[in-house]
Amino acid sequence: MRLLVAALTALVLAVPALADNLHPSQRQMEAELVCPTCHEPLDESSSPIAQRIKDYIRKRIAEGATENQIKDELVAQLGPRVLGVPSTHGFDLLAWVIPLGGMGLGFLAVGAGAWAWSRNRSTDEAVLDPGASSLGTHVEKRLDDELARFDG
C-alpha cells in the first residue's frame, strides 16, 4: 500500500516536470539560462548575444524542441557557461567541492554531536537508575545492617 502511494506521489510530481521539459515556455527558459557575455540571466540581459539566444529559443520552441534539446544545443554552441553553472575542472571545481564538502562536514558534526549527546544521556540515566547503585559495597552493607536492625 505504502509503495503504491509513493509511486502515485512520484507520478504526480513527475508529470508537470515532464510536461515542462516537453513544452518549455520562453519565460522559463530565459530565467534558467545565462548570457555568456554579461553572466546575467537571459531575462535580465539585453546584450546582443542574449537577444540572439532569446530569438533562438523562441524559434526552437515553435519548432517543438524540448527543454533539454534546446539546452543541449546552446551548450554545444556557447559552452556550459550558458547554463550558469561552474565547470567541473580547474579552479571552478572548488565551487562544487566546497559546498558538498561543507555539507559532508556538517553531517559528520551533527552525527558526532548526536552520538556524544546520547552517550552523556545514557550515563546520566545510569546514575539515576535505582538498580544501578553507586553507593559502594561498604555503604550498602551498612545500610542493609541498619534496615535489618530496624526490622528486627
Binding site: P36, I49, G79, A116
Partner: protein
C-alpha cells in the same frame, strides 16, 4: 569541543583565502596577454577545437612549424566586422609563406557565425570555442589577435583592437624572425 570547532572554522576560512590568493597570483586568466604585452615570449597553450567552417577538429599542435595568427572574434562584435576583410586579405597574402590564420569564434551561435564568415568572405580556418581558450590566453574583449611562432611560442605584439594591415604584417614578420 567548542574551541576545536572555532579553530576548525578559522582554519577553513584561512585556507579558502589562501586558495583565492593563489588563484589571483598564479591563475592563467590574463597572464599570456599580459606577459606578451610586457614583451615576453610564452608557450602557446595547446588546443583542439571543432571546426566552424567545415567538419572535423583543428589542433594548434598540427600547425607546428608554421607561424599561426590567432584571432578571437564574435559575431555581434562591431570591430570584428571592421577587421574581417583585412584579416582575410592578409591571410591570403601570407598563405604561401607558411603563415596560417586561425579564427577562434566565441560567444556566438553557430548559424550566426557561419553567416558572418559568408558575408565577409572569410576563408581561413575557423574553430569554435566554449570560452575556455580565451581564458587561457587572457582575452578580455573582441577582437584580439596573437602571433605564434614556428616553435609554438606566443610572441609580441598582442593586438587588442581591430587589427590593421600594418599591425598584422609587423606581427607576422616578428614571429618569423623569432
Amino acid at each position: 569541543m567548542h574551541r576545536v570547532a572555532q579553530a576548525a572554522a578559522v582554519a577553513v576560512v584561512i585556507a579558502l583565502l589562501g586558495v583565492l590568493v593563489w588563484k589571483v597570483v598564479n591563475g592563467n586568466g590574463g597572464k599570456i596577454a599580459h606577459q606578451v604585452d610586457n614583451g615576453q615570449i610564452v608557450i602557446a597553450p595547446p588546443f583542439v577545437r571543432s571546426r566552424l567552417d567545415t567538419t572535423g577538429r583543428l589542433g594548434l599542435a598540427s600547425l607546428r612549424g608554421k607561424v599561426v595568427v590567432l584571432n578571437f572574434w564574435a559575431t555581434w562584435c562591431i570591430p570584428c566586422k571592421q577587421e574581417a576583410r583585412t584579416l582575410e586579405a592578409v591571410a591570403n597574402e601570407w598563405k604561401s609563406k607558411g603563415v596560417v590564420f586561425v579564427g577562434i569564434n566565441e560567444e556566438s551561435l553557430t548559424g550566426d557565425a557561419k553567416a558572418f564568415l559568408a558575408k565577409y568572405g572569410v576563408t581561413y580556418p575557423q574553430v569554435k570555442d566554449d570560452g575556455s581558450l580565451e581564458g587561457h590566453y587572457g582575452v578580455i574583449g573582441y577582437p584580439e589577435t596573437f602571433f605564434v611562432n614556428r616553435k609554438g611560442m606566443v610572441v609580441p605584439p598582442h593586438i587588442a583592437a581591430p587589427a590593421t594591415r600594418q599591425q598584422l604584417d609587423a606581427g607576422i614578420r616578428g614571429a618569423i624572425a623569432s
